[in-house]
Symmetry: C2
Subunit: 210 residues, 2 copies
DNA sequence: TCCGAATTTGGACGACTGTACAAATGCTAG
DNA sequence: CTAGCATTTGTACAGTCGTCCAAATTCGGA
């Protein structure tokens, strides 16, 4: 039952946000009793924490593997693209870790992050800061001329683009009159990698003419 | 009093999200009575709509001016940078329209957008689609070789980067150990323009090698 | 089979939510 | 001054919320 609750909660949170979903909705969707959720997770925050704990391990392991795989590439240009891809791939892949949906968990993180929920902010920082720094280091190695601050800014933008796409997949579809398909993970991935690599290759901000 | 309520609601919504803020908090923060809010705006959704109506006019007029100003630039490269700047400048400028805070309203939009609130989604689409298309057209004129779908994708990423920065200004500060300052609007603006211009100049995705 | 631990159940709790409305007040035009 | 409209006030309502708990149930090992 514990797993069913986690599944349902994850699905509902990722679709509607943390605050908007009630414990009773989760209970109904999972077929569990309201009290059972309290029994297993103590509180609503505890439930959220459990969701994070279920995913963060496998996800970060996966990202670590992809990163070190990418770092083995000799050519710096190819390497840069591979690192960017490794950085965001798990957020778009359907199956990951425990069960079907690294994308679902990524969408959950994006939505919860936007809600500025204190507990979540803390969990996210704890869980993702180390691996984020590893990626920044890898990018710095590809772009030795670039100040670290600029790299941080651009990874930040990259994450923002990913999150925005995950939160509103249909937006790009509607804005292009169906020409671009935002719900297509493959297309989103190639588009974002293409754009991000170019952004990383841009000259440093300090060097830019005003 | 009406104005005070709008001010307080805007501040609270932009800081904590729509659902997380109660009518009573708004009443207390604005010094108004709970019933007065219902009297002036009918409902909580009505209040949100009033906030949008207060800002969207001046903001879109401003963006339109900045856009046509940018479009007068001859050199396509300079023009591209100017258009990108015009696209996002109102989201970072402190004073705009009625009173102090285009940034506040932009943050509100970002937060509310992430909450997937139906009413808000509708208002945003109505209000911002036309001007968004105008910007896409202007970008297309700078980049005639690029498929329109790619341009839509990249403006989408641009918006995601802007929103993410507005929602979590401190993130980039913490991630760079204070080297980059996310709360500094000036710095954020130059960094994002630099990155976005490079992204727009990237070759089309269809032409990219796999 | 039976005991004890783990889990599920249904209901209750107080706190909080958005909304509605009559009564009181403020204010302006005649 | 006063009639009439605009606004504010206080309160009540019907729900929903997260949390808690005693009783009932399930289940695995001795």
């Amino acid at each position: 039952m514990r797993e069913a609750i986690l599944d349902a909660a994850e699905e509902l949170f990722s679709a509607n946000g943390f605050r908007a979903v009630s414990m009773r909705e989760i209970a109904q969707a999972s077929g569990a009793n309201l009290g059972s959720i309290s029994y297993h997770f103590g509180s609503k925050d505890g439930l959220l924490r459990a969701i994070y704990e279920r995913h963060s391990g496998p996800m970060n392991r996966r990202r670590g593997e992809l990163l070190s795989e990418a770092q083995r590439i000799r050519d710096p240009d190819d390497r840069l693209a591979a690192i960017v891809r490794a950085f965001i791939l798990p957020s778009f892949s359907e199956s990951e870790g425990t069960e079907g949906g690294g994308a679902r968990f990524a969408r959950l993180r994006a939505v919860v992050m936007a809600e500025r929920h204190e507990e979540a902010q803390k969990i996210i920082a704890e869980t993702f800061n180390p691996i984020n720094h590893a990626f920044i280091d890898a990018l710095q190695a590809c772009l030795p001329h670039l100040p670290r601050a600029d790299i941080v800014w651009r990874t930040h933008f990259l994450l923002g683009a990913v999150n925005y796409t995950l939160i509103n997949p249909w937006r790009v579809t509607r804005l292009s009159n169906g020409d671009a398909k935002g719900e297509n993970a493959e297309e989103a991935l190639t588009q974002i990698v293409q754009a991000a690599v170019a952004a990383f290759r841009a000259p440093a901000c300090a060097d830019a003419p005003r």
